[in-house]
Subunit: 352 residues, 4 copies
Amino acid sequence: MTSKARIGVLGASGYTGSECVRLLLRHPHVEIALLTADRRAGQAMRDVFPQFSPYELPKLVSLEGFDWKNAGLDLVFGALPHATTQKVLKELLAQAPKTKVVDLSADFRLADPAAYARWYGHEHHAVELQKEAVYGLVEVYRPDVVKARLVANPGCYTTCAQLPLIPLLKARAIDPDEIVVDAKSGMTGAGRAARESMLFSEVSEGFNAYGVGHHRHMAELDQEFSKAAGREVVVSFTPHLVPMNRGILSTIYVRGTKNHLPESLHEILLKAYAKEAFVHVLPFGEMPQTRHVRGSNLTFIGVTKDRVAGRAIIGSALDNLVKGASGQAIQNMNLMLGFPEAAGLEQVALFP
Amino acid sequence: MTSKARIGVLGASGYTGSECVRLLLRHPHVEIALLTADRRAGQAMRDVFPQFSPYELPKLVSLEGFDWKNAGLDLVFGALPHATTQKVLKELLAQAPKTKVVDLSADFRLADPAAYARWYGHEHHAVELQKEAVYGLVEVYRPDVVKARLVANPGCYTTCAQLPLIPLLKARAIDPDEIVVDAKSGMTGAGRAARESMLFSEVSEGFNAYGVGHHRHMAELDQEFSKAAGREVVVSFTPHLVPMNRGILSTIYVRGTKNHLPESLHEILLKAYAKEAFVHVLPFGEMPQTRHVRGSNLTFIGVTKDRVAGRAIIGSALDNLVKGASGQAIQNMNLMLGFPEAAGLEQVALFP
Amino acid sequence: MTSKARIGVLGASGYTGSECVRLLLRHPHVEIALLTADRRAGQAMRDVFPQFSPYELPKLVSLEGFDWKNAGLDLVFGALPHATTQKVLKELLAQAPKTKVVDLSADFRLADPAAYARWYGHEHHAVELQKEAVYGLVEVYRPDVVKARLVANPGCYTTCAQLPLIPLLKARAIDPDEIVVDAKSGMTGAGRAARESMLFSEVSEGFNAYGVGHHRHMAELDQEFSKAAGREVVVSFTPHLVPMNRGILSTIYVRGTKNHLPESLHEILLKAYAKEAFVHVLPFGEMPQTRHVRGSNLTFIGVTKDRVAGRAIIGSALDNLVKGASGQAIQNMNLMLGFPEAAGLEQVALFP
Amino acid sequence: MTSKARIGVLGASGYTGSECVRLLLRHPHVEIALLTADRRAGQAMRDVFPQFSPYELPKLVSLEGFDWKNAGLDLVFGALPHATTQKVLKELLAQAPKTKVVDLSADFRLADPAAYARWYGHEHHAVELQKEAVYGLVEVYRPDVVKARLVANPGCYTTCAQLPLIPLLKARAIDPDEIVVDAKSGMTGAGRAARESMLFSEVSEGFNAYGVGHHRHMAELDQEFSKAAGREVVVSFTPHLVPMNRGILSTIYVRGTKNHLPESLHEILLKAYAKEAFVHVLPFGEMPQTRHVRGSNLTFIGVTKDRVAGRAIIGSALDNLVKGASGQAIQNMNLMLGFPEAAGLEQVALFP
């Protein structure tokens, strides 16, 4: 057996970090060589996530002054908070330019420095890397990912909305000016930071929208939808919080352009994803449920006819921590390191 | 003290029936004189809903051959399944024409017999009563309710969508052809019938749409929205199931007509509900959460500006068993029997 | 109408504070005159708990330098964190000695200063008040509560365990050396402080014990059980966290002393609580569920025969925020201010 | 590559059946050759469990008149209801005596026909098979399982209680007369049959005990505990329902025999499971949580000192559908068919 690739996870004490660890532990071609978590440095991974108690894993270390040059890492997953990421990755790639990176933060997703500055309120701290970064929606940018050194892993909400809409926009099959994306996410999408609004007692047995009219994910949608449509596209997008841990469901309202009835939209999606391992288009008229993709890297897509003439309702469901984050990140890694694209990602959904 | 009104609840073993009992038990002007539940006839209410164990309540009896003539009931709540309702109420009102009725089923909500037949697949069995019935959305039809003998209590989804949209349609402030209502409901809205798809293990930790494109509630929306707009209105409406017990949140996407910016829509709603006890319009830009109305008869409405020019996003939240069913039914009863409209409905929301 | 009593709630931004407000808002004999919340001072109550948006309430103020002397308060609820409480109440009662206090913290529950110091690791800061304080388990200490100026409201876990066990220990009907109390609580019992372990994603879809072998509530149990039994009693007690908001269920394993079969234990409890408004003993063999007391001030108690000869299993259920905290506090207030004991506490449980 | 073993799952429309399918789909040495589900016969597995939509699986067939002789099955999992099982397996093994069977029902767990008749109210219909059946708690009966044709897979509650208690009883380290097992299970343990008491709205946001004093699982505990202790053992056992899908936590109260302090009990368990892949003993004083074993075949065990002298509190957590049912069944299969014991069971727990 040849040696395994040496992988690091930066920010292993958060949910996307631990999800990387869960998946990497069973990946046939890698070994986990580095786990960082600044505030928990010195602790074992089991102290932060007790489910890893039975497994041997490296101790959590601090990023502070870490010697990237001699770490011998083949690839690193960045699961750090926004802004921190730019600084850390800049230093990492300066010291160890051959290490590859899949970044799960939002820092490198916007190609346009001006758009970045507008949405985030400050200049990007690593503009050169921003230019280099490949947007890692594998089903759309596979050839670029294969050659990339730095991949910006797409957001969970945006992956869920892009997979059904990109092929339809490319085919000019829907009206770009009448798209409503009503998105609902489980709570792990909000991360592990201790905030009052995320307490069990605040969240359980209730439902609400948030960030209405101004959620940052919109920048990413604008960029990719406009690219696909060949013109500016601005959609209505509202995120909601569901009292569940994992899963995003997007309910998408569209109007077909001339000759494109709902059945035709379904046909376009069926064809687009016929050979994809991780996008599953349901029979026409069936709608997806988040529970049926839980823990898997799959996206389920359904198309139904609306009773309003000419309109269709599209459902898209994925696990925000897998296809919406760490699973997609490993899918990117597989391409970047030359492994089979589905390696380590074959697990079947856990339902119930 | 004058004597209390004698009230019956038909179908007391279901959730809307038990919710009527919960509220009536603390209503200052009524006594619970009759509880029916065909399959549980002969049992005590505590056998069906143990929370009533400490209270004295009549035994559950069967509707079969019940003597309405001599029951001396002032008002009856119908919480029976669809279709059964028509038959039972027809007989009840034939035998006891002075008894008033608030019906919580869908049977008398559609004024047009043809619409009824189209949506339900059969002729209405009590067409005369269908004509007589008043649609009991109190905030819209208060003067009619006061004089009514038979009130059709609105549906939970439809109440939640109508309260924000009716004033806007009446004011011609939004485009009737571009309304999307994305609705999310807790599980009690699906009733208490034992069905596999409603088991805890099927529902918990997941989210999905259902009845996409053809939900029966749409008929009720079409009727009331068209009436308010003075022209035919057909909206896109998708119901979803949230893993929680109580609550409906509707996220509503609208486009303002000329001169009607989102702020103007908010202003119209503020004015429309300034004197209403049970509709609370939040400050502009705040959005409602279902948990903050749980157990109360309140509807919270919020209006926010969409980033798409000219569009607004409206949120509307209520407790499907209270303002969406039994609370609104008691509000109707209060008007019909001459009690203060808020009697028995003052409880503050239970959060957390 | 005579004037209403003026009530203050110290710590209104927490769950027991907001639950006091919920209940006081509908109490016929009081007005809410003061709400404090140091970190949220200056804000409206609706900013902290949006469910109160429709109601008029005083602004949140800081305790810092508050003028108790001229506040004209008849009674104050202390819903402050441990330790802070002692300091604040000492000053309050020094300035306004006629104001009465129901304290919901643990600070005044232990009568013995030595026991306090042992469990909390420091001397009590208000020993005189500790001596004065009456332990407010109304069903046991009603005559003392009526005359009290300062009442220490019992803990939620301990109320749930004491109500079934005190009468049995007093009757010498169970062996004090073989009591196991396995307690399960909803998450609101842990308060509203933002801690990682209390996030929805950490709590949902899981179950665990905590504080095993050394939970502070044990001191309170030891004190009251020993008093009831007339000898030292130390029980095995394990608290657990249930992924739900409200409710405590205690499953209690006991062995009857000579002649005391399970049926006899049930008989003792039935008699003890025959005239109590808020303790409901179920028929022999029925066990309580937390959902059937949610939102109410009731405790449901059940007794069943174990298959192990001579042993019984007792279930006790209450809503930790009502009978386990704020409801019981208002029950104490009612006695202290001469109101009917059940005033403001009549609401029926909210199920489902 | 050699050919794969041909496996059947009887009762594939229930939760333990679907969990077998989930695990078998990724097992390297088997193929799924048969799926039965009488009421859903003719349908695809995806119609019953949509999560399997992307995979190729045999259609569901009826057991009625199935030709076992020519089915060429190497092993069959029985996931059928009680009583049906006896009849079906008797016929199956008569027709195809070389097919091996792992039965997940309770039908073959009791070795003594008299005990069976007493607990189930009727004579066993396949007494010869009852004699032949090996009780499949692998960690205790591994050598017997290796040679077995028919294995009775242990129950979920009983596996959870036996793994910590059997080694302690064998070592005579705890008093067999003072064991209390307070067990809490997620809802999937109750199966998929549509019953009112299992609806989301009945279960969510509440907690309760059930089957108090007379749960059938006790027979299995009595049998195995008595065998381990070498004398009759009857424990107090109370099952509870937790509003979550997966997981059992048992909180077990024991008294150490002379010289056996809690630390010593921990030591015994550490040694007993040092080489076991699926039993993980936590450091002394740490207690397990169900969420940390979700979806995995692991059991986590913790031991803590009680404050009552001489007593210990033991926690045991597993996923009722994996180690408590289908995972353990596959562990049995692996031994019976000569595969590595952990094949197909390596997945890491899914948390959060």
